[in-house]
Symmetry: C2
Subunit: 165 residues, 2 copies
DNA sequence: CTATCTAACGTTATATCATAACAGTCAACA
DNA sequence: TGTTGACTGTTATGATATAACGTTAGATAG
């Protein structure tokens, strides 16, 4: 496992690979137990599917995989599992893509920001705690009680930036 | 017109009212002329509709108004006008709401951030230039070429925060 | 051990958001 | 004045998301 630096910025490590997937899944299970929520088979499998994916997945892509494995075949099955994961901090919704991605550090309470590659749609999760703090202050200066922020950046990932076009 | 402070934060002024609407519309027309794009009747009217709205409007809400006034009745009419406005900096898309809102300072090139009220859905546009700069730097540290960011915060606006529940 | 309760699951049906593709219109201008 | 290209409008369809309801299964009180 890699160092996830403390306050701000994006982490530069590869989050793919079976070992990492397993580790995150284990963290998620621990956290679910601790907070008294149930990581049921569909939910767990949905999280695995997100972890195995390269980028973010749309709800219907998740549904396809779930139904192929004998789970329900209709949209609510996927949406419910995905919403559960998001609400409990195991996954994030990427608004720009209408898609979902596994949280890379579900064990820690954090504010996330995302780098989305315009070309390959890869999604990198970063820690936006310092940004969020600044936002909370700027908002409260105008009397706005900020609860949560969505920070999504679009551009070229290092892999795609290297390629011609 | 009020002072739109330079680098960061949300502005505390009321952006509604016919006078302000007219001023922004005038700025938009100037800018359109300068940049050689055409602010046609549908596009102009669409911008007015956004300016007159209290919060952000969905494309179908805009379409409703447009078609009631003799413009086209089908979704592409609204989406084309809205996309034109967004691409040219006259409006913004609010991802979280699948909705659109007029830009409150179309004359200036800027990075926007939004405060979205959970209760009344009002949208306040703020200037995120300093956040964006910090993001660009954090992103480039991991080799990501950032092009644009979406920053949307959800919480309670000052009006709603005062009310009971 | 069984009755009961509730969270989760699965389904049908439908709502909501968005765009592809193509035909007609009109102003700019060679 | 004919051609071009941007704009508008239409039909049709695709993509995303949720409401509502019956069923299942795990927890728990009796």
């Amino acid at each position: 496992m890699t160092d996830h630096s403390p306050q701000s910025g994006f982490c530069c490590t590869d989050h793919s690979g079976a070992a990492h997937t397993a580790a995150i899944l284990a963290q998620a299970e621990t956290r679910a137990r601790e907070s008294g929520v149930r990581l049921t088979p569909v939910r767990r499998r949905t999280l695995e599917i997100l972890l195995e994916a390269h980028g973010a997945l749309g709800a219907y892509e998740v549904l396809e995989r779930l139904s192929a494995e004998g789970y329900g075949t209709q949209p609510p099955v996927a949406y419910r599992a995905l919403n559960f994961l998001v609400e409990n901090g195991f996954a994030h919704r990427i608004q720009r893509l209408n898609a979902f991605t596994a949280c890379v550090h579900p064990a820690r309470d954090h504010r996330a920001a995302f780098l989305i590659c315009d070309r390959c749609n890869s999604v990198t999760e970063g820690c936006a705690d310092s940004f969020s703090q600044a936002m909370i202050e700027a908002a409260s200066a105008v009397g706005f009680q900020l609860e949560r922020s969505t920070i999504e950046a679009v551009g070229l990932c290092s892999a795609c930036a290297g390629k011609p076009a």
